[in-house]
Symmetry: C2
Subunit: 275 residues, 2 copies
């Protein structure tokens, strides 16, 4: 029997933040977590004794667990299943087979950002389900519908987290270079942010090149970039810090026509594994 | 005899843009380029016949060439030498030995950005030289003085370009994943920009951790990141695209205590080469 507006399954840091944002938005909420006690500070939430009970308590069931496969077979009775657990696009498509009227989502935020404009959550799958619950999703953060293919949210999440790791690596590598020269990292942040802003401004043009499959140089030719990578390797050696990251960057450019722009590297990233 | 305000040596794309911005700002400019003819569209610029003539034509001499070593020994008579050519911190220190009253600079912009707020140019070396010419530097873009150590500009440039390449790699890798699933890159740009903005907001806290040498988890533990990297490798395999980049990302985390935050990777980047 449906007694609440939303059910939240999984009360880890993220699930907990989701439930709190829903309660703060005036929704009635049922919760379930594998280990009990996680709902103790969620005032007003109904606690379900089993996943089955949780799933039937609301029309909308939001799942955010570390191991979706471990609970999946207990969620079959959900009317509208929204899986916000991290997972691959394949697992999203697998879930769509038994829950075609649901959505797969990906949270692009830390738990502390949930319920604020800092959080973006992307959704893919059943359009009607998204439209029906968009106002509820808006309580969690900016809600973006990507399309009917259930795999889209996971794919975009993968793409964004890869971007985040690479960005962080680049930043941390920079701080290591500076530290080796006796320079602190804090003063580097504004310059790093400016560099990031500059490159972010290039992304739309790079994306157009990727979509067109044609990579004329924009900021500089790949040859110019490779020469600068050699500088970076030399600099790292001179400073006595690992050359692993710059050597990897340089290795990615090998075998690519250097008169093109940097976006030509997409061919390398997109080619079959092991080639 | 000094006859102009500024001399620009090197009229490649970047040097050309510098000279044009100086002329636009009302400065009188002497130019010299290894191959002649590059000044043909720089109306109002004085052309010097030799580097020696160019160097003595102005108190301020800005050099922007692809091979600084090839012209260095002809610049010794410059009163205030500002080297905006790309180079390592070691070459900046070498130059400082014979031109201690000069500056080393690094241009963080494409030629098209010169003379606009989009360009940042960092300078290091003689403070008095920077102060004396700050108004002229402001014609080229935002001018940031980093300190007396001539190496600082090159070091910060290296750090920023490493960041830029890593960011671009992350973005292009993401577009390769999406393309393999039949999804275009253009629609990914706003999400990518949002992800970049999120991570940029973390940089100050990460920098503080690097400076303190202590890496408590901020957004997530390294273990959580590694699990997500495994997802990314699996996803890449499933989509039939190269796993090279995600496997490299994952390899960087090996041997680091996974209960720490992501900034712990700075130890890996900062360690001696080959260890």
């Amino acid at each position: 029997m449906q007694t609440t507006d939303v059910t939240v399954i999984g009360l880890g840091l993220m699930g907990h933040a989701l439930a709190r944002a829903l309660l703060a938005g005036g929704r009635t909420v049922t919760v379930w977590n594998r280990t009990p006690g996680k709902a103790d500070d969620l005032a007003g939430a109904q606690r379900a004794a089993t996943p089955e009970e949780a799933v039937t308590a609301s029309e909308l069931v939001v799942v955010c667990v570390s191991d979706f496969a471990a609970v999946a077979d207990r969620l079959g009775k959900a009317v509208t299943l929204v899986n916000l657990s991290s997972g691959t696009s394949q697992s999203a498509r697998d879930t769509a087979r038994w829950a075609p009227d649901g959505l797969d989502g990906a949270i692009m935020a830390a738990p502390g950002g949930i319920g604020t404009a800092d959080a973006t959550i992307v959704y893919s799958g059943d359009r009607a389900a998204f439209d029906r619950h968009e106002a509820t999703f808006a309580l969690l953060g900016g809600a973006v519908y990507l399309g009917e293919d259930h795999a889209l949210a996971a794919l975009h999440e993968m793409a964004v987290v890869s971007l985040m790791w690479n960005l962080l690596n680049g930043f941390l590598h920079g701080t290591a270079l500076l530290r080796a020269a006796g320079v602190g990292a804090a003063g580097y942040v504004p310059l790093a942010a400016k560099g990031v802003e500059t490159v972010t401004g290039w992304l739309a043009a790079y994306a157009d090149q990727v979509d067109a499959g044609d990579f004329p140089p924009l900021d500089a030719t790949l040859d110019v970039h490779v020469a600068a990578m050699d500088h970076l390797i030399e600099e790292s050696r001179h400073l006595g810090v690992a050359t692993e990251l710059p050597e990897f960057l340089r290795s990615l450019t090998s075998g690519i026509d250097g008169s093109q722009g940097y976006a030509a590297l997409v061919e390398r990233f997109g080619r079959p594994p092991g080639r």
